[in-house]
């Protein structure tokens, strides 16, 4: 019953958050120096042409009215027209959302596939060689910038070994997955460093917990204690850690899509900023903000499902 209410009412509580984000996005974009119309027309733009286009996109109106147009367009769902591409932003986003979603999902999946076994290995051999190696590697992973790591992976796997494409995005599904391996790996290496360290620490705590001792007293082997009691209990905090990192993850896709020339939302955002394409920047930023809020909402529900003590 409580949970049902949460699922129903929590989105309403998020409404003020989204309004705040829309104001912040709007204000930030306007505060970037430069004028979209001048950037669009270049040096050959006559004052008349500039004025015409400003009027066409409503840029000559007062700021508060521009904000209301923005909100109106958001509520309408189509988010207005891009100044540069001259098409509705919804269409623009629809074309580019798939690579970004695939990149995020692939990175999370890959980082879990790396972090769970590595943390298990380290926690169960605490103080041993494996533990030291895992900690060394994960600490280095924390320190490496994503763009540099991406370039290194391209040099190694694409140029020297010729295993994966250097950049871009494929046509067929298999081809796309092939293109996504290196970018996903780049993000996953950094993300799994954080996950591994946290998972290792919670596994060690759970291995020494009273309830693990009680499970041993029931005659469970170390492997059974680990699988049945230690692992489920230490995965619960990882759900929240992933949710907290979703903002960072989206930030990373922006960089990684540029490094690997993936035609996703991140790349669209970067280009729109350079072109001062106000409405596109606002639209994509709002989508990223909504995604972050939604992911945290889902994580709250997932935590409650995994841990019966959690009250929503």
């Amino acid at each position: 019953m409580d949970r049902f209410r949460f699922v129903l009412f929590r989105p309403l509580q998020l409404l003020p958050v989204l309004i705040g984000i829309s104001i912040a996005t709007f204000a930030l974009v306007r505060s970037i120096p430069g004028d979209p119309v001048r950037v669009l027309l270049g040096p050959r733009g006559t004052p008349e042409a500039i004025a015409r286009i400003r009027q066409q996109f409503g840029l000559d109106e007062p700021l508060w009215r521009q904000y209301f147009y923005f909100v109106e367009n958001l509520l309408d769902g189509r988010m207005g027209k891009s100044i540069v591409y001259k098409i509705e932003i919804l269409d623009l986003v629809a074309r580019r959302i798939e690579p970004t979603l695939a990149l995020v999902a692939g990175s999370v999946l890959l980082s879990l596939l790396l972090a769970v076994p590595l943390a298990t290995l380290a926690a169960r051999n605490r103080g041993g060689l494996a533990d030291h190696l895992v900690r060394l590697v994960s600490t280095s992973g924390l320190g490496l910038p994503a763009f540099w790591l991406g370039l290194m992976l391209i040099i190694l796997f694409s140029i020297h070994l010729d295993l994966f494409p250097v950049a871009g995005y494929g046509e067929t599904l298999a081809d796309r997955l092939h293109h996504l391996v290196l970018p996903c790996l780049t993000i996953a290496l950094a993300l799994s460093a954080v996950l591994t360290r946290n998972l290792r620490a919670s596994m060690i705590a759970e291995l020494q917990s009273d309830q693990a001792m009680a499970a041993r007293a029931r005659g469970l082997s170390e492997g059974q204690v680990f699988r049945r009691h230690v692992l489920p209990n230490s995965l619960v905090p990882t759900i929240n850690l992933l949710a907290v990192n979703i903002g960072w993850l989206i930030g990373s896709t922006v960089v990684i899509e540029s490094v690997f020339a993936i035609p996703g939302l991140g790349q669209l955002l970067v280009r729109a900023i350079f072109a001062r394409d106000y409405l596109v920047v606002q639209g994509v930023a709002m989508i990223f903000a909504c995604a972050t809020v939604t992911v945290n909402f889902i994580a709250d529900i997932a935590t409650a499902l995994a841990d019966p003590r959690v009250r929503l």
Binding site: D210, M213, A217, L220, N233, D307, P308, R309
Partner: protein, 324 residues
């Protein structure tokens, strides 16, 4: 008396050079309840962890003695064989039921876990057995309660559930480490009554560890008093409580409210001084710095446990005959 179910001889538990349990011996008969009493740090918890071979870290180990259960010496058994006996021959109940149950697993599944492991029962049969066990430990509406998680149980119900977990595979021996310390007094009495009832119904032998002589007095047949890693006195409960032979036992009894110590309005007597820590054991009798009867012999020679008036005492100057 028939042959004891469990015989402990000269059991020694050490952390590196330090002896936490220093050569203790006791027997446990079928259906008998043995109380292990002592202050915190006297080694009683380490002794019972050693019986299960579940010592808290790799640094702490059984370094001597034998733990005889049937034909097996638990002190020398390979880990794989020991694991088969845990839960199956020896069950254990812990002090804090809240932290010793898995918070994200249903109570019924935790009880069923041992049954599936030791008895090879399938999911359905193990679940039915778990519900039956919950009923046996006095949980009302067990079929519904089995689906609950530990946080949905009260403290006393959690301890009942933990007893059900420990008894799931019908062990002959239950080791109960301070099973009522974390509970309030009324619930405490209920749990002790449950242990007595289970002893009657199953012929269960129980090692009950407690610092509380009141708890021991209500339940046990025999008592072993531990001080600084050694048993200083053991024998029948009534003998020991009525007329202790060891000065430490006498001191413990006097510290109990309502015993023969200071009456209403008077401060409770205490035993002066602190128990020694494992690294700084005094020479001779370990109790001598706090003992009103200590002599030169006590300072030099460790008293050996010897039979006296139907019990075993380790003291140079036991409280025999004369009135102290």
């Amino acid at each position: 008396m028939s042959a004891p179910l469990l015989s402990v001889r000269d059991l020694r538990v050490s952390a590196g050079p330090l002896d936490l349990v220093d050569g203790i011996s006791f027997d446990l008969g079928q259906g008998e309840i043995l109380g292990l009493v002592g202050e915190s740090g006297s080694g009683k918890t380490m002794a019972c962890r050693a019986l299960m071979r579940l010592l808290p870290s790799r640094q702490v180990a059984v370094t001597g003695g034998r733990i005889l259960l049937g034909d097996d010496d638990l002190a020398a058994l390979p880990e794989a064989d020991m694991r088969r006996l845990r839960g199956h021959a020896l069950g254990m109940v812990f002090q804090n039921p809240a932290s010793h149950l898995d918070p994200v697993m249903r109570i019924g599944d935790q009880i069923a876990e041992g049954l599936r492991l030791h008895r090879g029962l399938d999911r359905k049969a193990a679940w039915a057995a778990a519900i039956d066990l919950l009923a046996q430990v006095g949980i009302p509406d067990p079929a519904r309660r089995a689906r609950n998680y530990p946080h949905e149980f009260s403290g006393g119900m959690r301890q009942r559930a933990m007893i059900a977990v420990a008894l799931s595979c019908d062990p002959g021996i239950l080791i109960a480490d301070e099973p009522t310390t974390a509970l309030d007094v009324t619930v405490q009495a209920q749990i002790l009554r449950l242990l007595l009832a289970l002893r009657e119904a199953r012929g269960l032998a129980i090692v009950l560890i407690s610092h509380d002589l009141g708890v021991i007095a209500q339940t046990c047949d025999r008592i072993a008093v531990m001080y600084a890693g050694r048993i200083v006195e053991q024998g029948a409960k009534t003998d020991i409580l009525r007329r202790p032979l060891h000065p430490y036992t006498q001191g413990l009894i006097r510290c109990q409210p309502g015993e023969d110590g200071g009456g209403p309005g008077l401060p409770l007597p205490t035993i002066a001084g602190q128990p020694p820590s494992a690294g700084e054991m005094p020479a001779g009798c370990r109790f001598h710095p706090r003992c009103p009867r200590a002599s030169e012999t006590c300072r030099r020679e460790m008293p050996a446990p010897h039979a006296l008036e139907g019990r075993i005492v380790a003291c140079h100057h036991p409280l025999t005959g004369e009135v102290p």
